[in-house]
Symmetry: C14
């Protein structure tokens, strides 16, 4: 038969990469949106603190980004390294 | 048999790309919508700060975009590079 | 047998395109609706800022559109290029 | 056997079209409803701005329509062109 | 064997039509309900603007109807044309 | 074998009809409930406008009914015409 | 083999009827509950309008019932007529 | 083989009955709970109207019950009549 | 083969009973909880009406119980009678 | 073959019991939590009515428990009696 | 073949136990959290009633625990007794 | 064949343990978060009652932990004892 | 055949570990986020109590962490010990 | 046959890694977003406490990160060590 075990591994790898990145983008996307929404609201009420709030927003989003990056790393590892 | 292992890998790659981009577009889309909604609300209350709020909105959305771009990258890699 | 590997790849491509575009339209659709809803609310309260708010709404929606366009691009690539 | 690869491709195309249009109609439908709901609310409070609000509502809904149209395009391509 | 490829295509077409119309009716149904709910609320508060609000409601619902109609079109195409 | 292709088509048709009507009843049912709920609330606050509000409610629900009717049409077509 | 195509059609019919009625009862049940809840609230605040509100509630629920009845019709057709 | 087509039909009937009643109990259960919750709230605020509110609650719940009864009818038909 | 059609019917009956009772317990459980929650809130605000509110709560819960009992009946029928 | 029909029935029974109890515990658990939460809130505001509220809470929870007990009964029947 | 029917029964038992306990832990966990959250809120507002509120909280949680314990019992029966 | 029934039992055990612990961690995690969130809010408003509130929080969380521990016990039993 | 039962056990172990950790991370992640969000809000209103609130937050999060750690333990056991 | 058991183990490992990281990124992403959103809101109201709030936000997010890191660890173990 033409389907070898090594082929099945590679196919599983690519499906796994798709699942990891696709699901992994939902949480950070929604979470960063919450942060950005509240930052806009806060700046609208208190514009004089815009630099401080922008910085806080970016720090908060950067941390929320982390699990998205983990997902990217896992997907990349599954595509290239494995 | 006509189905070779290499064919199965390619098929898995394309299904994986579809899953990665399809699911990966949900989070950023909703998150960016939250940011934009609050920015419109804030500008409506405080129009004199519109440039500042538009800039904050764009920065917040750009960060929320990131996981969507990761998904695009993973999908592209699965389609073209693999 | 009549089913060749190349046929399976093409079939997987079309299913993948359907998944990518179908799921990818949920997030931006809801997100853009949030932006538009808040813009209408803000213009109703502060009509004199309508041009500014319409512009902000369009910018916010354009960014939220991005992941929908990525999904379209991935679906198109899966249909035509692959 | 009576099932040829070309038949499987066509079947996959039609299933894919159904998924793309069915899922792709959820997001814009809900999003446009949000926009319309807020527009009615705003016109009820501030009827003198009805033309402006109707225009804003239509622009906001038109943009939210975009991913629905993409889904239609993908479904049409899968049905007729492929 | 009694199952020909052409039969499988037709079966896939009908399943696809069911998915497209069934899922595609969720979004517009909920969205139009939101528009109608807010229109009733607004007319109750400001009955003198009822014609204007009814018109706005109908326009908003007509646009939200669009993706439902796309779904119907795709389902009809899958049933009759394909 | 006793299963012919034509049988499979008919079976697919009936499953498709069940999916189309079952899913297609969720959206309009919830949407019409929203409209009716707000109409009752509005009439309770402003009973003198009851005829106007009842009319608005019925118009809003009739439009929200549309996708439910599309689903019924698709289900009927799948059962009787196909 | 003992499984004939006609048997498979009948089995598909009964599964389809179960799906159509089961899913189709969710939307109207929730929607009618919303209408009834708001009607009770409104009568509690404004008892003198109870006949008017009860009538409005029943009309609103009757319309929301429609898709539930469609589902019943489709299920009955699948069980008895097909 | 020991599995006849008639057996498969009966098995499908019982699975279908379980799906119809199980899913069909969700909507009315939640909807009737909403009605009852609001009725309790309204009676707590306005106890002198308790008979009127109880009657309204029961009417509202009876209508919301309808789709649950349809589900029961379909399940019974699938179990006994078919 | 050792699996007879009659065995498959019985197995389907028990799976169907599990689905009917399991899903059918969700709606009434949540709905009765809503009624009880509001009753406690109302009694806390207006303790002198406790008997009336307790009676209303029990009536409301009894009606919401109905679809749960239907599910139990269907499950029992599937287990013992069929 | 070593798998007899009677074995399949028993296996189906145990899977069915797991589904019935697992799903059937969600609704009452959430519903009883709502009742308990509101009872705590009400006692905090009006501690002098604590016995009355505790009794109401227990009655409300006992009724909400009913569908959980039905699920337990069905699961027990599937495990021991069938 | 090496797979006997008795093995399949045991395997089904363990899968069933996992489903029963896993799903059955969701409802009570969330419900008890609601009770505890409201109890903390109430004690924060009215600390002098802390013993009464703690007792109410524990009683409310104990009842909400019940379906979790039923799930545990079913899982244990499936693992040890069956 | 190399797959024995005893192997299948062990495999089912491990899958069941994963499902039990994975699903069983959702409810307590969310519920404990609710308790902790309200406790922080209450301490922020009324810091002098911090020891009392911390104790209440811990008691409430400990009870909400219970179903998580049941899940762990079931998973452990499935891994080690069975 | 090349697939032995021992291989299937190991494969099931790894899939089970993935399910346990993946699902088990959802609840604590959301719950800890709720605690942290309320703690930030409370500190912003009452900064003088920051040490007390930070401690409460950490205690509350540590307890909410517990089911996440159970999931990790189960996943580790499935990977290394089994 | 070309598929060996060792191949199936490796394939299961990669699918499991994808599931663990993909699902495991949802909870922390949403939870960290909640923390960041409330921190921005609090700083906007009380900018003089920005360092304290930023520190609290980072601590709260770091704890919420933990289950995401567990997921990464499990995914890494499944990819490299197993």
């Amino acid at each position: 038969m033409g389907i070898e075990g090594a082929d099945m591994i590679v196919a599983a790898t690519y499906i796994g990469a798709g699942i990891a990145m696709g699901l992994g983008a939902i949480g950070p996307g929604v979470g960063q949106g919450m942060v950005g929404a509240k930052a806009c609201e806060a700046i609208g009420k208190n514009p004089s603190e815009a630099p401080l709030l922008t910085r806080t927003m970016l720090v908060g989003q950067a941390v929320a980004e982390s699990t998205g990056i983990y997902s990217l790393v896992v997907a990349m590892l599954l595509i290239f390294v494995v």
